[in-house]
């Protein structure tokens, strides 16, 4: 029974179905239980939370990644699947023991820096990080450096992810590093940056820990930094 449920969770992640109202990639799935209902059912039937997390949600997302690599899946499939995983995580949350898998692979505060409104790339990164099992607190766009540092502290985040698309705003990323230093948080909170005008060199220049060229690099770097 629970094995079957886990299989169904994997399949519904692949189909990107958050709940029963969602359509899948295949026709005729609307109305069938989606990830949220299936996770609830699995919990009700006493399935181990780790089993749901690793063999269900994470496994599903891994398969999605593989399908993307082979060209069968595209970014919209990835985003939709990641949203389904996020729904599953929400249902799981109250059942997870604090500290142990409580925030999955770790907590990330994401933001587009002050005076910058671009968020397509940042949202993509946020959603994909969630799909990969990170807990993401997304502060949105045009967020002042002080607010980002404050949120990192409040949330106890291990990583801050910063996005900028304008060469006039990318310097604000350096301000976030400085704010974290001033708050004495810099050794606890890593900084990962991204966005078209930024680069590895720029990350070094402002004292960030790493740069990610796209959402996949973001996951790789986040995993490294939060190990």
């Amino acid at each position: 029974m629970s094995k079957d449920l886990i299989e169904q969770i994997v399949n519904n992640v692949l189909q990107g179905r958050r709940n029963k109202d969602d359509e899948g990639i295949e026709e005729g799935m609307t109305g069938d239980p989606g990830v949220a209902e299936l996770v609830q059912k699995a919990l009700d039937s006493g399935t181990d939370t780790n089993d749901i997390l690793l063999n269900g949600l994470s496994r599903g997302m891994e398969l999605v990644g593989e399908k993307y690599e082979t060209g069968e899946y595209f970014i919209p499939d990835m985003l939709t699947a990641a949203e389904a995983v996020e729904e599953g995580m929400k249902v799981m949350e109250p059942h997870l023991v604090k500290g142990e898998g409580g925030s999955g692979k770790g907590k990330v505060v994401m933001a587009t820096v002050e005076k910058d409104l671009h968020d397509i790339g940042k949202n993509l990164v946020s959603i994909m990080l969630k799909g990969a099992g990170f807990t993401v607190v997304d502060l949105g766009i045009d967020v002042p450096a002080a607010r980002i540092a404050e949120a990192a502290e409040e949330e106890g985040a291990g990583l801050v992810g910063l996005s900028a698309l304008l060469n006039t705003t990318m310097s604000n990323m350096g301000d976030v590093v400085k704010e974290l230093e001033q708050k004495g948080l810099r050794d606890k909170v890593k900084v990962l940056i991204g966005g078209a005008p930024t680069s590895e060199d720029f990350a070094k220049e402002i004292g960030a820990d790493s740069y990610g060229k796209d959402a996949f690099a973001a996951i790789r770097e986040a995993e490294k930094l939060l190990k």
Binding site: F74, G140, D214
Partner: protein, 510 residues
């Protein structure tokens, strides 16, 4: 009457009248529900006064309002939009006159690319046949004021470029937020006598930019008559959000009575539906929201319907310009603008390719040909843009100038008249009774009158190598060597005396 651009005699009507009415209705319905999410309080107040309802909310770190705009508010605003908008120019012969219901299409540059692509010919010896060949080597450099001056000067030389939107994002270390606008506007205005259209980065510099333009034309009234600068405001953040800082600029520009493009650039598949119906319904609603705010701020202010709908690339969600959907979206928007009797700003010619070459040529030629068929008044992004607007290549701009020439030539009239038919019959009769039965002599008149298309000017001689880019590179050097048409010494002096923040190295008389 403006002689620039090209008249498209029978604009292609992709949408039927009923379909346009359906889109109109859909857009108006969307403006009512869900309405717009507006981050700018003054805009909300104006909209409420006009009959909209607003509800305060909080989005992340910011105050915002859900504003439901009834159709009548939008329609009233549309009633006051002027049907003709003039983009002024230092040389009055270069003015661009946009008539909402006219069919004249103008091509221009844009937009702020981070990189300038340098082409350098370099000699290589083949390990295959031992022969030496020259190949174009490319290098991306960060944009600078110097590059901006060069691109404005080059744009002056390109005969198919009708208006200038700065296409290089300046990243000099001595250019700051506080002095950027005055310097980039001066760099443009000092190097080109065609209309300069541009965004303003910093609200506080708008006044200085306008003052600079007034010095050039000789006062505020002159500027309104001959607006040598016009503006672009990306006031909409798709989907359906109004950006506070830009709305502020939009309102200020409207009150100055200067032309402004309301630019909205949703990406089908991420910030707008990817299907044509969904995209057009939304982008049209967004353009209408911007126009409404503009007209509420100053009824009758010159405004341009700017829609830059693009498609998302499915494997990385970056913009895609060289695809059929892009043409569909843009042709539909040109039709919608005409439906509302508002001049239209559209897009063609961006290469998704990173460097000049086969891919860039395919993508560019495709949209240069398709989009103008719908006869939008302005086609921007048309010169030198590569890597989906991240890179500007001057060689590519020269190539694009030629491609646009081809696209324009397509719209020449057929010339079929009673008189021409009679002439044709006579010619055929004559030739049939002539010794060689050749039409060569009859081609000469058209040839001399410039009525025969010149062919590809950068053709190479080589049989084993494409030399186009090398030839364009040589031609570019000639164009760049032409004498610049700087502002007069007096005008420059007055500008440098009165406008703070200008960098002395931009003054040609120093």
């Amino acid at each position: 009457m403006s002689e620039r651009g090209i008249v498209v005699h029978k604009p292609y009507a992709r949408l039927s009248r009923e379909q346009m009415e359906m889109i109109d209705k859909a857009s108006l319905d969307l403006l009512e529900n869900p309405g717009i999410l507006c981050y700018h309080e003054e805009s909300v107040t104006m909209l409420e006064k006009a009959g909209a309802t607003a509800k305060a909310t909080r989005e992340g770190e910011h105050d915002a309002w859900w504003v439901s705009i009834p159709a009548k508010v939008v329609k009233q605003a549309l009633d006051t939009v002027p049907a003709t908008v003039t983009l002024g120019a230092r040389n009055p012969e270069n003015k661009v006159i946009l008539e909402a219901e006219g069919n004249r299409v103008h091509f221009g540059s844009g937009s702020e690319t981070n990189y300038w692509l340098e082409v350098k010919p370099e000699k290589f010896t083949s390990t295959e046949d031992g022969r030496e060949r020259v190949l174009p080597i490319m290098k991306r450099n960060r944009g600078s004021l110097e590059y901006l001056c060069r691109s404005a000067h080059l744009s002056e030389q390109l005969e198919n470029l009708d208006f200038f939107i700065r296409n290089v994002n300046v990243q000099d270390t001595d250019v700051t937020t506080e002095n950027k606008d005055v310097n980039v506007f001066f760099a443009a205005l000092n190097n080109i006598t065609k209309p300069v259209v541009s965004g303003v980065a910093d609200f506080d510099q708008l006044e200085q930019v306008v003052k600079m333009a007034e010095i050039i034309v000789g006062g505020r009234d002159e500027l309104v008559k001959n607006p040598v600068v016009s503006f672009i405001t990306s006031v909409v953040k798709s989907p359906l959000q109004i950006v506070a800082e830009t709305a502020e600029k939009l309102i200020a520009i409207a009150r100055l009575g200067l032309p402004v493009v309301i630019s909205t650039s949703p990406q089908g598949g991420s910030t707008a539906p990817i299907d044509e119906v969904g995209m057009v319904a939304q982008v049209n609603a967004e353009a209408l929201a911007g126009i409404t705010i503009n007209q509420l701020a100053n009824p009758g202010a010159p405004v341009i319907y700017g829609a830059v709908p693009v498609r998302a690339r499915m494997d990385d969600l970056h913009d895609m310009y060289g695809v059929p959907e892009f043409c569909h979206y843009n042709m539909d928007c040109a039709q919608m603008a005409r439906y509302y009797k508002v001049p239209c700003y559209s897009t063609a010619g961006v290469g998704d390719a990173k460097v000049p070459g086969i891919q860039a040529s395919v993508e560019k030629m495709y949209t240069y040909t398709a989009v103008p068929f719908a006869a939008p008044g302005l086609v921007h992004y048309a010169f030198g843009l590569l890597d989906k607007t991240q890179t500007f290549s001057p060689e590519q701009a020269v190539l694009d100038n030629h491609k646009i020439g081809m696209a324009k030539f397509l719209h020449r009239e057929s010339g079929i008249t009673e008189e021409a038919i009679e002439r044709t019959k006579k010619t055929v009769q004559e030739v049939m009774h002539s010794p060689y039965r050749m039409y060569a002599r009859y081609a000469r008149g058209m040839l001399r009158r410039g009525e025969i298309f010149g062919g590809f000017p950068f053709e190479g001689e080589s049989e084993d190598q494409d030399q186009t880019l090398l030839n364009v590179h040589e031609h570019l050097k000639e164009l760049e060597a032409r004498e610049p048409q700087y502002l007069s010494e007096d005008v420059c002096k007055e500008i440098f005396d009165k406008i703070p923040g200008l960098l002395p190295r931009l003054n040609p008389y120093k």
